[in-house]
């Protein structure tokens, strides 16, 4: 057996993580080289949804809280960025993204402070939904936010890099900026997921009473997780605004809150990579079936049903089990041949 002092399991996980990151970077960075504008736009949207889904899974898969209103924090970040872009406020886009992320986090902290007081179960989930619907109504009735028509013509300003300025509205510049932002955000989520705070959050999910009697303030840990998740969702929203160039109250609608839940269930909420896999597969299916109206919904429905019934751990869980059983059968067969040799 491996020495427990060298947690080979953990190091293997990290190596695998690095390999997956490298693969994703290559895949996303080469898209502008061969894909048309439509596919590049879709890839940009995938980056936005990856950040959204990863941030959602911090509370869903890690802390074990169900929120039905995550679109609220996305919308908060999106409309913050949208207003700043529309008014032409002279701040660089990366800073706009940070501001959007912080607004999303602040709203999430406020909602968590309200909703986590009483429960972390069903009532909590319903309260998050109710508060998100409230925001949806406020947005669609606010003149400054464009009511039902939303905000339009959101062009990113030129980015001053010191030696040169980049026009983010031309070519692939915005796409590559979003790719870098996604990598940074993904790295932060990864640190959280695999680090000490992540372990404590997993502890509060698995055995909240035991966690409390290890000196963990369960309520505070959940608040932290929810606020950090809101930061990620706000960032995703702020990334969405300059990419879509138009914002409508749809981004605060409950059906938008359903997206990260879908991604996490499809990909597997128990794994860090689950939401990423969910986004890629979901958008891939949607893109492949875009020519036939209604087919994508059917395909997504069938895929989700298959995944839930066949792989309870989502796609990531399915792959993990596949790898596990393959290596187990390999071990079994080596053991068998060794046994024969000895006999």
């Amino acid at each position: 057996m491996n020495s427990p002092l060298q947690p080979t399991g953990l190091w293997v996980t990290h190596r695998r993580d690095m390999a997956l990151v490298a693969l994703l970077i290559v895949a996303f960075a080469t898209i502008p080289l061969w894909a048309d504008g439509g596919l590049r736009f879709l890839a940009g949207m995938a980056l936005v949804q990856i950040v959204f889904a990863l941030s959602f899974n911090v509370i869903f898969g890690l802390a074990g809280l169900v929120s039905f209103g995550h679109a609220a924090y996305f919308a908060a970040g999106a409309y913050t960025a949208g207003l700043l872009l529309q008014k032409g406020v002279p701040i660089p886009l990366p800073l706009i993204l940070v501001i959007g992320a912080l607004v999303g986090g602040a709203l999430a902290l406020f909602v968590a402070a309200l909703a986590l007081r009483r429960s972390s179960g069903n009532y909590f989930a319903i309260l998050t939904l109710a508060l998100a619907e409230l925001l949806h109504i406020v947005i669609s009735k606010s003149t400054v936010l464009g009511r039902e028509d939303g905000l339009t013509g959101l062009k990113p300003p030129r980015l001053d890099l010191g030696i040169t300025t980049v026009d983010l509205s031309q070519g692939h510049a915005l796409y590559f900026l979003l790719l870098v932002v996604t990598l940074v955000a993904g790295f932060c989520a990864w640190l959280l997921w695999r680090g000490p705070l992540g372990r404590r959050l997993a502890a509060t999910r698995l055995e909240p009473d035991r966690a409390a009697f290890l000196g963990i303030n369960v309520h505070r840990a959940r608040m932290q997780a929810f606020a950090l998740s809101g930061v990620g969702a706000g960032l995703a929203g702020a990334m969405y605004a300059p990419l879509a160039q138009i914002l409508t109250p749809e981004v605060a609608h409950w059906s938008f809150s359903a997206l990260p839940i879908l991604f996490c269930l499809l990909g597997g909420a128990a794994s860090f990579w689950g939401p990423v896999a969910g986004v890629v597969v979901f958008l891939g299916v949607e893109h492949a079936t875009r020519t036939v109206v209604g087919l994508s919904e059917i395909m997504i429905g069938v895929t989700l049903l298959t995944v839930v019934l066949v792989f309870p751990g989502g796609l990531a869980g399915g792959v993990q089990r596949l790898v596990h059983s393959l290596s187990a059968s390999r071990r079994a067969s080596t053991a068998l041949t060794q046994g024969k040799a000895q006999a």
Partner: protein, 254 residues
């Protein structure tokens, strides 16, 4: 001299039914104190009140002279009151080592021990070494790499004890630490608890059904019946008490 844990006039009812009626208990530092009594006597409720899982309706709980009555469970843990559960609760999906790592990282967090333990991704080598050392004290060293869910019952109980010990408590509350163990495991566990309590100069409060365990371990015994203390003293005093014999030991030690 102040006791380690002193509870005075504890009253607790669930709805209309009083479970604890004016219970006093005083555990001296460094001693092992057993609470015994028939099922439904209020032992577990007393445990919950002392550990902060529930609050008493009346009465006070002091820990080394500090009133902790209004403190939540996690706050009391941070002051040094460790506890285990009647049915061992561990993080089943994680390895035995990871279970310990969580406890150690939690301690590092609330005791503001080492900033290095808050950052980084893998647990630091120091954390892992300490986790392994604690696992050795409860004789689980060779199980460190296993998933906690596959542990045998007695091992799981010992892992829970290790989790509590990792927080460096000044006092341990053990709710039926030997329940469900085989007689052989019990003897090992008794010897282990004695060793740990002596080595770390910890006060221990435990509930137990097995009288041989109680008399082998405890310096002091408190007998509860229908939520009231009916006897308290050394094991010999309690054993010779007529009241206790009648209602509790009668059928076992007649």
């Amino acid at each position: 001299m102040t006791g380690a844990l002193t509870a005075k006039g504890i009253y607790k009812s669930y709805g209309e039914i009083p479970v604890l009626k004016n219970v006093d208990i005083d555990i001296s530092p460094g001693t092992t104190h057993a609470v015994i009594g028939p099922n439904g006597a209020g032992k577990t409720t007393l445990f919950k009140v002392l550990s902060g899982e529930v609050f008493a309706d009346a009465g006070s709980v002091d820990f080394f002279g500090r009133d902790v009555s209004q403190m939540q469970g996690y706050e009391r843990v941070r002051l040094g009151i460790g506890r285990t559960f009647q049915v061992a609760r561990v993080f089943g999906e994680m390895s035995v080592l990871e279970n310990l790592v969580i406890a150690l990282e939690s301690r590092a967090c609330f005791a503001r021990e080492s900033w290095a333990r808050h950052f980084g991704v893998s647990p630091s080598p120091a954390t892992q070494a300490e986790a392994l050392r604690i696992l050795e004290t409860v004789e689980l060293g060779r199980r460190a790499g296993n998933i906690a869910a596959v542990l045998a019952y007695g091992e799981r109980k010992r892992l829970e004890l290790a989790l509590a010990l990792a927080l460096r408590p000044r006092m341990l509350l053990l709710d039926e630490p030997m329940a469900g163990m085989s007689p052989g495991d019990r003897l090992t566990a008794v010897a282990l608890l004695k060793k740990i309590a002596k080595a770390q100069d910890m006060a221990i409060l435990l509930t137990e059904h097995d009288m041989s365990v109680v008399f082998a371990l405890a310096d002091q015994v408190t007998v509860l019946n229908y939520g009231e203390v009916i006897a308290s003293g050394t094991p010999e005093q309690v054993r010779s008490s007529a009241v206790v014999r009648e209602i509790y030991l009668g059928h076992e030690h007649a």
